[in-house]
């Protein structure tokens, strides 16, 4: 287990390094630069050049990369070219919206997908089971933006139950209002992600039904459903954990879209604005942090999986 963990850890570090190179150099392909945006229309080439010089953008790219990655290794994710605030502090502030949004979305996805997935598998071939399965297919195919719009029209504009957009200015000092602001965005992501997850739960459950140990349990006198719940579901749960790891990436992508739609001041919206503003040091800091987060979740899921699943331990 220790050797496995170390190998896995080395892979994680390598992944982050490769990601940093990719992030840095692919962003440099974007046309346009921040100096030009700061100087704006009605600026002279001299003004733009002066700003570029001030910001240190005239250095060769490899030097800029080493500067950045050197900073990252000492815990400094860089600073915004526009405002001079640190990327880490900006991420910390915006995470107060995005992290609760992500957790809430995941909760909704899980609460919705597991029972429906299992039930629709157990009722395979019957009308209600098929309806659930087809419904999930449809919901999973719905664009997040559209789902969000519909939720807003119904719950915010028609019924007036929940806010249509924005986050309370007092933030979490007003927990009720903050929570209410996140319900519709989290439902938007949670339902769409949950529908995808439900299809997975369903097929994992169906697979478990066919497993020898479930059949053995059934042969020993349990009903098919009882055998499935007692012996099959732990296995299903295990594979769901793995998929949940992947789901985190989906939720981050969903957050980018949903934060735009609901004008939530989170990491996703900040990222889009920073790309538009060509605040590349900030964008690369944000992307690296997000990539790191996803990679670390993957790493933890792998470790957890190995620790829980006896079959994997025996194999090593």
């Amino acid at each position: 287990m220790i050797r496995y963990t170390l190998t896995r850890l080395a892979l994680l570090a390598l992944g982050l390094l490769i990601a940093s190179v990719l992030i840095f150099f692919t962003l440099r392909v974007l046309p346009g630069d921040v100096a030009q945006l700061i100087a704006g229309v009605n600026s002279t080439p001299e003004q733009i050049a002066a700003i570029r010089e001030q910001l240190g953008l005239t250095q060769p790219l490899p030097v800029q990369y080493l500067d950045w990655i050197g900073g990252v290794l000492t815990g400094d994710l860089g600073t915004s070219l526009w405002t001079g605030t640190t990327v880490a502090s900006e991420i910390a502030e915006k995470a107060q919206v995005t992290v609760p949004l992500g957790i809430l979305s995941l909760l909704i996805a899980v609460l919705f997908s597991i029972p429906f997935g299992v039930i629709s598998a157990m009722r395979r071939g019957r009308a209600d089971g098929t309806a659930m399965s087809v419904g999930a297919q449809l919901v999973a195919a719905v664009p997040v933006v559209w789902a969000g719009m519909m939720l807003v029209v119904v719950f915010a504009v028609w019924l007036g139950w929940l806010p249509a957009q924005g986050f309370p200015r007092a933030g979490w000092q007003d927990p009720g209002a903050a929570f209410r602001a996140l319900i519709l965005p989290a439902l938007t992501i949670g339902i769409v992600e949950g529908a995808m997850l439900m299809r997975f739960v369903r097929s994992a459950t169906l697979q478990a039904v066919g497993q020898d140990f479930v059949r053995t349990a059934a042969a020993k006198g349990l009903t098919r459903n009882a055998a499935l719940i007692r012996h099959g579901l732990p296995v299903v749960g295990l594979s769901v954990i793995t998929v949940l790891g992947l789901q985190v990436a989906g939720i981050i992508v969903g957050a980018v879209v949903v934060e735009q739609l609901f004008t939530l001041p989170g990491i996703g919206r900040m990222l889009v604005a920073d790309v538009d503003a060509r605040d590349l040091p900030k964008v690369q800091g944000e992307l690296l942090a997000l990539t790191g987060f996803v990679l670390i979740v993957g790493f933890l899921v792998d470790l957890a999986h190995r620790a829980i699943d006896p079959r994997q331990r025996e194999a090593s």
Partner: protein
């Protein structure tokens, strides 16, 4: 992915809009505020474009001027929404008859937000530093100022030659007065003399101003103003309908029935200096031929833009109606596809293929109308939708474009037509001469006449096309009074803003 999501978003707005219309009751006339103004009120205003940072010295963009000038920072003089020049930090001023000496009497008892006193030396330092620092915005606008001196409360600007635009320029960034030797971090904080102080900036979300209780003039009528940056119009409409904002600027006039439906908002249309400018790269190629440019102008049905946007007016020359030198130039390029086809044939430019480079945050109506109008006369228009950073590089800096659309919001910006290095690529010595004469004129009327002459030549040369002169479309809550409605994209003076409790 971005293209697809933009398409989806558009489709959704349409669908959402239809749903909203379907469930709205018939529009009723909006009541006027009946209650008393509430001095403790907080007013939330939806704005579209957030400033990248708050540095009034260096950062470009109307988003900075829009909120900071007048409210936070002030100059010796200011301008009203009707574009009249009025006193601000100067009680009074005097211009010598030869137009070479400007004398201002500085107000006494003015303090900065941090409590420091405004001294005549601060004024001299601010203007001199602006003039001497090319990196600061609009520093070139003080080029004709030879010396800036103070004696007591009298500030004197001596000019090397008359400059009819100087007072106007002093109402903008060029005239902002800062505290000498201030150590404030201008990018994220502010220290001015205006009726509001910067309270909090939540980047990517909102900016909050609080009333300046130590203000030298009439104190603001509300305790707090919050600017909520909501780029998407549909989201802004939802926010208004859910009572989350009191005022929506940059509203789309065609959505008026929806926002006015429950009687809580009234849509107010005001004039603006927004010019929907279709630039022609005329350095070489088919667009170097004036007949081709004229043909394009005549192929475009300008009324269609006004109809589609639901607001604004047509404009056929470089100067909008709020600016001096305006005249109606509709006779220069009337809509006439037949004439356009004839001109193209004469120029041997049939089956022309051109590319339109347009920043992606503009309404898709604009390229749609252009593509169909130009197609009508045999020009194939390919639309290249880019983000603003790309537009700046490709079009503004590298002049790598055929046609380009951008909304130029600045008031009195005729200078770009007299600058052959500007991205418009328009170079006419006669226009440059007339513009220089207009600047040197000591009489306002004469200056305006010279500008009008120059503007007519620019229009007759088909140096560009002006698709429309935009309107300020502001949806104002019925409890709100004193909200400016003219040219709000450029300046938003909130000194009179009030919210009633009824």
């Amino acid at each position: 992915m971005p293209r697809r999501s933009a398409l989806t978003a558009t489709a959704l707005v349409v669908v959402g809009g239809l749903l909203l219309t379907a469930c709205s009751p018939a529009s009723t006339p909006a009541p006027t505020p009946t209650g008393a103004p509430d001095p403790d009120a907080s007013v939330a205003i939806r704005l579209v474009l957030e400033p990248g940072n708050l540095d009034i010295r260096q950062t470009a963009g109307a988003a900075v001027d829009q909120i900071l000038v007048d409210n936070i920072y002030q100059g010796l003089v200011s301008r009203t929404p009707e574009q009249d020049i009025v006193p601000a930090l100067a009680e009074d001023w005097n211009v010598s008859s030869d137009g070479l000496t400007y004398t201002f009497t500085l107000r006494e008892g003015v303090t900065f937000h941090d409590g420091q006193e405004l001294t005549p030396q601060d004024v001299v330092w601010s203007l001199q530093t602006r003039k001497d620092t090319p990196d600061w915005r609009d520093s070139a606008r003080l080029a004709n100022v030879e010396s800036i001196t103070a004696e007591g409360q009298e500030i004197t600007l001596a000019l090397s030659e008359p400059d009819s635009s100087l007072l106007w320029n002093l109402t903008g960034r060029a005239g902002i007065i800062l505290k000498e030797g201030d150590t404030v971090d201008y990018q994220t904080a502010a220290n001015g003399t205006g009726p509001f102080v910067l309270d909090r900036w939540r980047q990517g979300d909102s900016i909050t101003f609080a009333r300046n209780d130590a203000y030298w003039g009439e104190p603001a009528l509300v305790a707090e103003v919050v600017f909520d940056y909501i780029p998407d119009t549909q989201a802004a409409l939802n926010a208004a309908l859910a009572d989350e904002v009191d005022v929506v600027t940059g509203f789309e006039a065609e959505l008026t029935p929806q926002i006015e439906a429950d009687g809580a908002f009234t849509v107010v249309l005001g004039e603006s200096t927004d010019k929907g400018t279709l630039a022609f790269n005329q350095t070489s190629g088919p667009l170097a031929d004036k007949r081709v440019r004229q043909a394009i102008r005549q192929a475009i049905d300008h009324d269609a833009f006004i109809e589609a946007l639901g607001s604004g007016q047509t404009q056929f020359g470089p100067i909008p109606s709020l600016d001096p030198g305006y005249e109606d130039l509709a006779d220069v390029a009337p809509y006439d596809p037949e004439a356009a086809r004839a001109l193209l044939e004469e120029a041997g430019a049939e089956d022309l293929e051109l590319e339109l480079t347009i920043p992606n945050f503009y309404n898709t109506t604009i390229p749609t109308i252009l593509v169909s109008d130009l197609n009508e006369v045999g020009i194939t228009l390919e639309v290249n939708s880019v983000d603003f950073g790309t537009w700046l590089t490709d079009v503004y800096t590298n002049r790598d474009y055929d046609l380009s659309f951008v909304l130029h919001t600045e008031a009195r910006d005729f200078e770009n037509w007299a600058n052959p290095d500007y991205y418009f690529t328009y170079d006419n010595p006669e226009v440059q001469e007339l513009y220089a004469e207009s600047l040197a004129a000591t009489d306002e009327g004469e200056a305006a006449e010279l500008l009008a002459d120059a503007a007519r030549i620019v229009a007759e040369d088909s140096a560009a096309d002006w698709l429309f002169n935009g309107a300020s479309v502001v949806a104002v809550g019925t409890t709100i009074s004193g909200m400016p409605s003219i040219n709000v994209n450029e300046r938003l003076n909130l000194a009179q803003l009030a919210k009633s409790n009824g």
